[in-house]
Amino acid sequence: MSVSAISDDRSTLKSRLRRAERVQRLRAIGLVLPLFLFILIVFVTPIIILMTRAVDNPEIADSLPLTSAALANWDRTDIPGEDVFAAFAVDLVAAQKNKATGLIGKRLNYEMPGTRSKVLQAGRAAEKLTAAPYKEAFLKIDPLWGEIETWKVLERASHRNTSFYLLKAVDLQCSADDEIVNVAPDQALFRDVFIRTLGISTLVTVATLLLGFPLAYMLATLPPKHSNILMILVLLPFWTSLLVRTTAWVVLLQTEGPINDLLLFLGLTDERLQLIFSRFGTVVAMTHIQLPFTLLPIYSVMRTISPNYVRAARSLGAGPFHAFWTIYFPQTMPGIAAGCLLTFILSLGYYITPALVGGPTDQMISYFVALYTNKELNWGQASALGTILLMATLVLYAVYNRLVGIDKMKLG
């Protein structure tokens, strides 16, 4: 073939390569597509919905459309004028008809506790109002409507998006002067809960590492005949339902339970200890459940470390501990990193175990997400808590990546 013929071919070479690989590429896409769609539908979409719910604020805008429009022109210096009250009256009548006053009351109640009944009262009264001046009429119904504070809250709540839930999730709020301030100390809750969640997770991670590392080392260095049996013992709890294991801890830890019996029998304590419904019980149960998650990545990394490294260090003059600490231990870091990250992130989302084994002051953030979702039916707040937890996790992940390097992590 001549030189010119080759260069002529070159232009079509790429397209021919593409053609040749098209079938393979389509097959690869076809194989991955079901999983991709699955993740998109059941994982990515809910997270996006969750994050939008955290700022979504449709109640007032939908139920009081005219009031919302009228408030948009309000100067926020004095209580609104007659036009706003007129719109409010019309909106309330319509809301009364649609049975939406309850919703308005609930929404306002989030920001101003105790206002729900007053909204319902105003709704009923509004039906009887027929002519201007509405402003005076409302002021007569309840002094609440004569306070600028009320209208400021209503105005803020009339926007379709709100930072209210997200601020509340970190114990902040918008003050009357439209500044972001801490909530009243007696209402502050979530910062403590987040700190508690991080604290318990850290404690559990450290405990699993301290207990799991020596065990992983033993499993990795024993001959396979013995290590396989031990591995089954490690994995056995893994094959039992989380709920069953947690309930088992309830049985063990209760005041009349076997652990207290044993402690009394051994004379280590004079009276029965409060083991269940305590921080101690929560951490113990979570540590037990999380142990395999920390242990397995460490074990699988240790398995790949040749005993020759420590031997080499010994032959070069290092004592047993020095060889372990300077040569063996650093090589297990990718496993430690992976195991600890896994346990830490899983611990952040624990719900069942603290709910069953922990006391009221041991509940983690998931408990409150569930509370707002199932009991309070305040999905905005639940979503905001979820979003903050997700963000905190991502930040931790980024910090961790910076310190350890995710690419160095080995899950096995």
Binding site: S306, N308, Y309, R311, A312, A313, R314, S315, L316, G317, A318, G319, P320, H322, A323, T326, I327, P330, Q331
Partner: protein
């Protein structure tokens, strides 16, 4: 070579068992001279690596004594033995740079910082890798890792260096190059080296002496040339180099020569090495290059009819497989020089060899 009369390392009646049932090393007696390059050669499972590990301190002998410099070291911890070691896959610490790897044994010994830098650089120069100090092991080729491992085992000036199949992972050309290089470093430093390999050509190339291991026993301990030219038993004859075997019975023994009857085929005269009495079975060992095709009649005491079976051309020589005395796998190396008769398979020829090239060994 040995400068003092006292051996540097002595194994006395050393035994080792892992399971309490079979001995991996049976009654080992071995004296290693100061400055010697000794190779432990043998097939896998022959006990050579176990012997090395006992010397390094990673295995404890179940019986016997190991002495170094006149002191028993059976229960001395590995890090107190001051023995350099090169491992099979180098065992360079992956989380440290080349420099840190080399500095490790010096730091452990609390050598001053500037002294460490000097010694590390000298060791790197010795293995011709002066530019690589900041790299990590994973960034080096197999040959480079090998050099670093060698430098690390030597950097703290040990009196004894152990090498456990250090060249096993390299390709043939690099391996041969490194063999010569290790030999030169050994000559230059005068350090005692105990080297384990299963590659007999490596053992012959590098060693002052070779201990051939099989079945937990040293079969023969000798200079490379003796090992090849004068094997003392059938295993060594077979394991070192290429070997033709003929099985027969001792017909007569007369001082330095003996007659061996190959049943149904004839009488071969040989030198008796490990034959017992007349009538006992024996194996004759004969190197392929010591056999002549169509010699002048009467030139050799042993001359027999043979049939050419197969010819393999190998450039400088031709391997000629013939059947003679009932052995159809009898190999003759014919140098491709002038005046060599052309052969064809199926051709009948005469083959002959000297009795002193033919050793009567134990029945294999």
């Amino acid at each position: 070579m040995g400068t003092t009369n006292d051996p540097f390392v002595t194994f006395s009646d050393v035994q080792k068992t892992y399971d309490g049932e079979t001995l991996v090393v049976k009654n080992l007696n071995l004296r290693i001279e100061q400055g010697e390059f000794l190779t432990l050669l043998g097939p896998s499972g022959s006990g050579k690596t176990t012997t090395l590990m006992m010397l390094a301190g990673f295995e404890v002998p179940t019986h016997g004594r190991i002495e170094m410099g006149g002191v028993e070291i059976n229960n001395v911890a590995p890090h107190k033995r001051n023995i350099g070691m090169v491992f099979q896959n180098y065992a360079l610490f992956p989380h440290m740079t080349v420099e840190e790897n080399l500095a490790f044994p010096l730091q452990v010994r609390k050598v001053a910082k500037d002294e460490i830098a000097k010694k590390v650089q000298r060791a790197l120069d010795m293995v011709q890798m002066p530019q690589m100090s900041k790299r990590r092991p994973a960034q080096l080729s197999g040959g480079q890792q090998q050099r670093v491992a060698l430098a690390r085992a030597l950097v703290f000036d040990p009196k004894l260096v152990l090498m456990d199949e250090p060249l096993g992972a390299l390709d043939k050309q690099l391996r041969e190059h490194m063999q010569i290089e290790i030999k030169h470093i050994h000559e230059r430093l005068g350090v005692t080296v105990v080297y384990v390999t299963h590659d007999q050509s490596e053992a012959l190339t590098m060693s002052d002496r070779v201990a051939v291991f099989n079945d937990g026993i040293i079969q023969q301990l000798a200079k490379p040339s003796d090992l090849y030219e004068r094997p003392e038993n059938s295993f060594v004859a077979q394991f070192i180099g290429e070997n033709n075997r003929l099985s027969g019975k001792v017909a007569s023994v007369n001082g330095k020569s003996c007659g061996v009857e190959i049943p149904n085929f004839g009488l071969v005269s040989a030198i008796p090495v490990s034959v017992q009495s007349v009538g006992s079975p024996t194996t004759l060992s004969l190197r392929p290059e010591r056999v002549r095709i169509n010699p002048e009649s009467g030139a050799y005491a042993n001359q027999f009819d043979a049939e050419v079976q197969e010819l393999i051309y190998l450039g400088d020589h031709t391997r000629c497989r013939v059947s003679v005395l009932g052995n159809s796998n009898f190999i003759i190396k014919v140098a491709n020089a002038e005046g060599v008769p052309s052969l064809t398979p199926g051709q009948m020829v005469r083959v002959g060899w000297k009795p002193e090239d033919c050793r009567a060994l134990d029945a294999y």
